[in-house]
């Protein structure tokens, strides 16, 4: 089973649209929406969701006003500013509380108890191309990494159960905790960028993180024609980091309108060919080609794989 993650550093470069297109080109895969903060892949993959299941992570403090003597010890002990004074004593703000237990540790009245924290919901959806595993994280939650790990575990389980040999992961923006959870242990990372100063700056940062993890990766330059000088800089960044450029996709102002019809750019002449070329390059550089390429490519697959390993 091969796992390929699609990330970007900067948001809005086209990760989700490209993942939606790759799912269609793969034909059969398990897809994971690991951008649990703003999960949009389901909008591109029609199907019926299974039952939504709760995702619980950590706990939240609850203070019993009947026992609290309003001594204020918890106010001093809490480093997250979660304990606040109210008319009849103190209470814990579930948004700020991280469930560490400092308040309970210092409470002389045993007034603090804990309830499980419902951090989000997750489900699966049967799409024409295989199962999608997706979730929604609750507001202000700090367990996005754990939720991403859960989704990926479920995706691997489903892939093994159904004999599917490809897992495609639509990653979150940024370089922090959920990104780490999205790329840990994958076989390859596709980094989607755009030829803007901000896109290039964030590309370099995410490539550094991918380097820390020692993962093979390749770059897709999206909206390539928006800024020609920037496109050259992307090529330079790619060569400095010794990461191959998988391909370029032109800017298409009709695409935002088409997303509502669950189209991903594959319907547009010029864009389709560019996405196809990127997908072939993903197969050649990051994949076991027999799994990823559109047409069976048996010969040379091993050679290409060792090339990909060398590039990382």
């Amino acid at each position: 089973m091969r796992q390929i993650a699609i990330v970007s550093g900067k948001g809005g470069t086209g990760k989700t649209s490209l993942t939606g297109a790759f799912v269609r080109l793969a034909g059969r895969c398990v897809a994971v929406d690991a951008d649990v903060d703003a999960a949009n892949l389901a909008l591109l993959l029609p199907g019926q969701d299974d039952e939504w299941r709760p995702f619980e992570a950590g706990r939240r403090a609850v203070i019993d006003p009947g026992r609290c003597s309003v001594c204020g010890a918890c106010l001093d002990a809490c480093r997250f500013g979660a304990i606040r004074t109210v008319e009849l004593g103190v209470e814990s703000d579930p948004i700020r509380c991280e469930g560490c237990g400092a308040c309970a540790q210092v409470c002389g009245e045993e007034a603090v108890s804990f309830r499980p924290n419902r951090a989000g919901l997750w489900t699966t959806r049967a799409t024409p191309w295989g199962t999608l595993v997706h979730a929604t994280l609750g507001v202000a939650q700090d367990s996005s990494g754990k939720l991403v790990a859960l989704l990926r575990r479920e995706a691997r389980r489903l892939a093994a159960r159904d004999g599917v040999d490809l897992v495609l992961i639509d990653g979150p923006p940024g370089i922090g905790c959920p990104v780490h959870a999205a790329i840990t242990g994958v076989d390859g990372v596709v980094v989607v960028t755009e030829p803007t100063e901000a896109g290039i700056h964030d590309l370099a940062r995410v490539l550094t993180v991918i380097g820390h993890f020692g993962l093979p990766s390749g770059i897709v330059l999206n909206k390539a024609d928006l800024n020609a000088p920037g496109a050259h800089v992307v090529e330079t960044v790619a060569s400095v980091h010794q990461v191959p450029l998988l391909g370029s996709i032109p800017f298409e102002s009709r695409l935002p309108g088409l997303l509502g019809r669950q189209e991903t750019g594959l319907e547009i002449d010029g864009v389709r060919e560019a996405i196809l070329a990127c997908w072939r390059a993903v197969g050649e550089v990051l994949g076991d080609s027999t799994h990823l390429a559109l047409e069976p490519v048996a010969a040379g697959a091993d050679h290409r794989r060792s090339r990909a390993a060398g590039l990382s």
Partner: protein, 284 residues
């Protein structure tokens, strides 16, 4: 007064709005600062090239064993809710990425053998661009937890009379850390199905935190009308609509303030700045 510029979805134009708005506000009154709290992908500096007057590494406290007093009792490990500390005979292992710096392990240790040391996770910078203040935070690649650095960045920027906060995307702890004390959250959205879905989440975030929201619709002519209907239904004022303009895109792409390059966009931003100053007139 703090104005947070936020969005559920990435790439909607938060930095475009925040940088140009801060610049326009700074032209109108003193004491304005642009504060880049998107510490995982901080891009504001690319548009301003500020003169930095203060640069400091930022760190979070993590526990460490102080000398040979550890009895190996394991109280610290069982008290830690985050799996960040593991106890063996005469020694503890700390996993700094998992540590929330809550201090519970220190209090749990009967030998008082643990103390905290600072582990650096990013950089804070303060400077100015002309008379506008500039603050940003940059998370080190490889670091997982951004919220403490975001809070430090916002606190540093909060010293300005009027801070324009460029928030990270999303609605989780990172975004909340940036917007939680804002007087107004300006949600930059785009009229696409993705934009609609993520705007719903952002509005939920504002409602949960009890924050007032307003909106700017970017690339307003690409997509459909559902975002407008949602904003009308939720009675969220639309401060401006910015149609897609290749000149704005080109200015942004090459790291220039679009309002300095595109007169039409400049007047849009000025109108937003005037509206905001009128709103906050009595509150500063």
């Amino acid at each position: 007064m703090r104005l947070a510029v936020a969005s559920g979805k990435g790439g909607t134009g938060k930095t475009l709005v925040a940088t140009n708005l801060a610049w326009s506000l700074a032209a109108r009154r003193a004491g304005v600062a642009y504060v880049d709290a998107d510490v995982e992908a901080p891009n504001g500096h690319l548009f301003f090239q500020p003169d930095f007057t203060w640069i400091e590494r930022h760190g979070v406290p993590v526990p460490t064993l102080d000398g040979a007093h550890c009895a190996g009792c394991g109280e610290c490990a069982s008290a830690c809710q985050f799996g960040a500390i593991v106890s063996g005979p005469d020694a503890v292992t700390v996993y700094p990425d998992l540590c929330h710096a809550c201090g519970v392990c220190l209090r749990a240790c009967p030998e008082a053998s643990l103390r905290e040391v600072v582990r650096e996770t990013g950089t804070l910078r303060r400077g100015h661009v002309g008379r506008m203040g500039f603050v940003d935070g940059t998370l080190d690649p490889g670091e997982a937890r951004s919220a403490p650095l975001i809070q430090a960045t916002v606190a540093l920027g909060g010293e300005a009379n009027l801070a324009v906060l460029d928030a990270p995307p999303g609605t989780s702890c990172a975004a909340v850390a940036a917007v939680e004390d804002a007087d107004l959250v300006i949600l930059v959205c785009e009229p696409t199905p993705f934009g609609l879905h993520d705007l719903e989440l952002s509005l939920q975030m504002c409602a949960t935190l009890g924050l007032e929201a307003a909106a700017v619709i970017n690339r307003s002519d690409l997509g459909d009308s559902q975002v407008r209907s949602l904003l009308a239904r939720e009675r969220v004022p639309v401060l401006a609509e910015v149609p897609f303009d290749p000149e704005i895109a080109a200015a942004c792409a090459s790291g220039m303030l679009a309002s300095a390059q595109v007169p039409g966009f400049a007047s849009t931003v000025e109108a937003v700045a005037d509206q905001l100053l009128a709103r906050c007139g009595g509150r500063q």
